[in-house]
């Protein structure tokens, strides 16, 4: 795997430019917000738009099968309680949500794992497993085209604030925050790749680089490794706080799941 090393090398000049104070700090103006898909080549955009060519649809298909599959001690499937998956239209656009039982926010993948262990009495799948991603993609796909609508739950606000702080905190050996690139330099390129504005509209999404589908947390992990920081643990409070902030930041933008990215 030589790519990450190459990517780190190209990050270094950017880091220097940022340290020199070349960039303007600040949030992206609402009318300037763009989905990551608008930064892609027309061919990749066409791939995402065409359901027969979007490889993410393979996971949607698998998820549809899992939705009907009975599992665990309860012997029940998702469909046995929730009925048709269409009943979940709009749900993914509201996640992460507040989980009253634990008193903490929970992301969609976490909710599916919780449902699986508590309601179905089955072992939850690991977060990056094919099954977990497939079911999450299938559920999120039901909200495609709907605007992201973060819940107006006041108990989520402290976590959103934590997320904002994480987004703007410099981290790692390159000492870069998310905002250094995604707020201040989104119209630039990092080597051949567009920097983009970091709006999580299409997750879980198919990355051509991964040759598979991956979660938002996997993407965040990638970025953290890129700035040579130690990534947060999978499903950790930090990641969910970041996810909360990112969804708030992208409020009103359309869901695209399953997205395709280069």
């Amino acid at each position: 795997m030589r790519r990450p090393a190459a990517r780190l090398l190209v990050l270094a000049p950017l880091a220097l430019a940022l340290l020199a104070g070349a960039a303007q700090a600040g949030d992206i103006a609402p009318h300037e917000r763009r989905s990551g898909s608008t930064f892609m080549a027309p061919e990749t955009q066409a791939m995402q738009a065409d359901d027969t060519g979007n490889p993410g649809m393979l996971w949607v298909l698998q998820g549809a099968g899992l939705w009907e599959q009975k599992a665990g001690a309860s012997g029940r499937s998702c469909a046995d309680c929730h009925g048709s998956a269409a009943s979940l239209r709009g749900v993914a656009a509201r996640y992460p949500a507040f989980d009253a039982a634990s008193g903490k926010p929970i992301d969609l993948s976490g909710r599916i794992r919780q449902c699986r262990s508590e309601r179905q009495g089955a072992t939850p799948w690991p977060r990056e497993s094919d099954e977990q991603l497939a079911l999450t993609t299938f559920v999120a796909h039901q909200s495609r085209g709907l605007p992201i609508t973060p819940p107006a739950e006041p108990r989520l606000d402290p976590y959103r604030e934590t997320g904002r702080q994480l987004f703007t905190s410099r981290m790692g050996q390159l000492d870069l925050s998310c905002a250094n690139c995604h707020d201040d330099n989104w119209n630039q390129r990092l080597a051949g790749s567009a920097v983009t504005q970091a709006h999580p509209t299409g997750y879980p999404l198919y990355r051509l680089e991964w040759q598979g589908i991956g979660s938002l947390q996997r993407r965040l992990r990638n970025c953290m490794i890129g700035v040579r920081a130690e990534p947060f643990a999978a499903g950790s409070e930090e990641f969910i706080a970041l996810e909360l902030y990112l969804m708030q930041r992208a409020a009103g933008m359309s869901m695209e799941t399953p997205g395709v990215r280069p």
């Binding site: 027969t52 490889p55 649809m57 996971w59 298909l61 099968g65 040759q211």
Partner: protein, 106 residues
């Protein structure tokens, strides 16, 4: 579990050129990579795709390690008769996966 998506227009006029697409979930592991422990990851790729139309072979392709994971193939056919367009993927472990779709020609 097989995951494949095929796209065949449900109806066509006789003599019309129709677009056919087929995609299948497969790791297409090249055999050139090493796992985290330094051990070789064995090659596991689809080697052949065959498409039949009304029972007759109309398209086939050989795949090699350079083909990406979840291979996607698109080609065109001349709609001659109503019938089944069937796909069969064979991997190097000898496993086959199939999918099919009907086309009505008027």
């Amino acid at each position: 579990m097989t995951r494949s998506l095929v796209s065949v227009p449900p109806t066509a006029r006789r003599g019309e050129i129709v677009d056919i697409r087929a995609m299948i979930a497969h790791p297409m592991e090249t055999g050139y990579r090493m796992g985290p422990n330094g051990a070789e990851i064995p090659r596991h790729i689809i080697t052949r795709l065959v498409c039949t139309y009304g029972g007759a072979e109309v398209f086939s392709a050989e795949f090699f390690p350079a083909v990406s994971a979840n291979p996607f193939v698109a080609f065109s056919l001349i709609a001659a008769e109503s019938g089944t367009v069937a796909f069969e993927w064979t991997d190097d472990e000898g496993q086959t996966e199939t999918a099919s779709a009907e086309i009505v020609v008027s």
